[in-house]
Assembly symmetry: C2
Homo-oligomer: 311 residues x 2
């Protein structure tokens, strides 16, 4: 066990972690910090475009980034089922190391618990993270805000479903799992008028927009024709009767900002980004979808997850 | 689900948590921080002297305190098995709220994941915590240091074993689960010469002392007759053939400090505390036990846990 821990730790070794104390000692000069936690229980552990380890790093990196913060430090806690294959565990550890390197965050403290066979499903991972807040980003949208998204939706959820069910009838769908921190940094440099940012993970874009509408006591209007969905993803959703607006993403985010700054933010986000809607003072707490046919309908919040264990 | 989350959150509500953002915004003026994480998988969920919720708060509070830090903020993440009794969950949430209140820490961010029946064992909890380092406490002991403990050992492990196996032949054994942060504060006020502090949880006092001896490249000598063990705990250990030195604690800690400051630290720890040994330059990386009979033997590190799922 001790040897295993040491071997795993080599994948994301750094001076602070290597002290192996009960708590890591950090030095952070800035006083406004973002702090976030998430557990990852995704199945299968490995899927096209990612794995549970990559997700665990980027998921928490992104939650911190959404607060207008630069993520710096992660904690990492494994719950392992007895009998979990060591090779798979090592592969996950390598993936964590690689993801942390790419996002330029350090794993500084950790924990491993082992439970008996049957008491867990192979591996669960928790990461918590600390970042330094640099932007003036809050939790509420403002009336008149434009809503900009950085790319096509529903890829993560459909990749997981495809891998899990072995459907295989549509190929080439990969999870969009990625770290958003550098993209967020660019947006914050491009505009000081971003009121809120969010990554639409579980529940998809529709659920995230509903939460923001509710928190902000404002309405949201989005335009179906502006929402980017890749052809293969659209096709798979159509066949299965799923709405891409409710499917999880792991590398997408929406920024709410003044209309004036929208083009600048779009440019900062790069190719594939779009202005998908606006915040309005009418229909408080609700999201309206203007369909391709020109009609308008309420887009409700998701009552229950379409897919369990998506992240 | 949404209603359940809101109801649970009421048990530890505060302004930061209530924003319900992806990441909490914290304001911490000090720059030296301690950061720690632990998952809790203890069985049974409720036991004499505590429950998984209390353990999850105090465990992380204590890990931070051991770094000479004042714990301030916690994250809280549940992994729930579908079908987990809501009443038990609420009881655990109440216990978390009460424990956080007692330790004066705030739960500021959280996560709940639900997995299907059979994929987990009712509930697992992860807490991560942030504290402000106030003491000059490091990770290495110094030659000549006295070792002071704040009370009797092995109560948590024996309480769990008693509750789990329904042995019931010895009554009155309770987990010592408690928050150590205020006791640590007192010690830090009493002495600026504490080199290292640790709470001997999994693996017990013997394992913790071995880790410190190894990290410090020094030897440790402890005196069996000075190590406090309650009569009922000793009796249960004797019957089961277990050594209390290897049994988990959840409310004990050892402080390593100059001999000169030892009496002051003992006083700060209060009734039940004892000087149990010293750090020596000989036998590097090893712990020696001077037995009640006057003989001396190596006290090895625990190779494997005597009891699984103890915390």
């Amino acid at each position: 066990m001790h040897e295993l821990i040491e071997k795993l730790c080599l994948e994301f070794s750094n001076k602070i972690l290597d002290e192996m104390a009960d708590a890591a000692e950090l030095n952070i000069k800035e006083s406004r910090l973002a702090f976030s936690t998430d557990s990852y229980v995704v199945r299968p552990l490995f899927f096209p475009g990612g794995d549970i380890g990559k997700l665990a790093v980027f998921g928490t990196v992104n939650d911190i980034s959404m607060r207008g913060a630069k993520p710096l430090f992660l904690s990492l806690a494994f719950i392992l089922e007895e009998g979990m294959e060591i090779a798979a565990l090592e592969k996950i550890a390598r993936s964590i190391g690689k993801a942390a390197g790419r996002a330029r965050v350090r794993v500084v403290t950790g924990d491993i618990k082992v439970v008996e066979k049957g008491a867990a499903d192979k591996i669960f991972i928790n990461t918590s993270g600390i970042g330094v807040i640099t932007g003036p980003v809050g939790v509420k949208a403002k009336a008149g805000d434009a809503i900009i998204i950085n790319g096509a939706i529903a890829e993560h959820g459909m990749a997981i479903l495809n891998a899990r069910e072995g459907l295989g009838f549509i190929s080439g769908i990969k999870s969009d799992s990625t770290n958003l921190n550098f993209e967020v940094e660019k947006c914050l440099r491009a505009s000081r008028n971003i009121s809120v940012m969010r990554d639409p993970t579980r529940g998809g874009l529709a659920t995230t927009l509903n939460e923001i509408a509710k928190t902000s006591d404002l309405g949201i209007e989005i335009y179906e024709k502006e929402i980017p969905v890749k052809r293969s993803v659209k096709k798979m959703c159509d066949i299965l009767g799923l709405d891409p607006l409710y499917i999880a993403n792991e590398g997408k985010f929406v920024a709410f900002a003044t209309r004036k700054d929208a083009p600048r933010i779009k440019r900062a986000m790069g190719r594939g980004s779009r202005v998908i809607g606006h915040v309005v003072s009418e229909h408080e707490g609700e999201v309206y979808l203007r369909t391709k046919l020109g009609s308008s309908r309420v887009l409700p919040a998701l009552e229950r997850d379409q897919l369990p264990r998506i992240c």
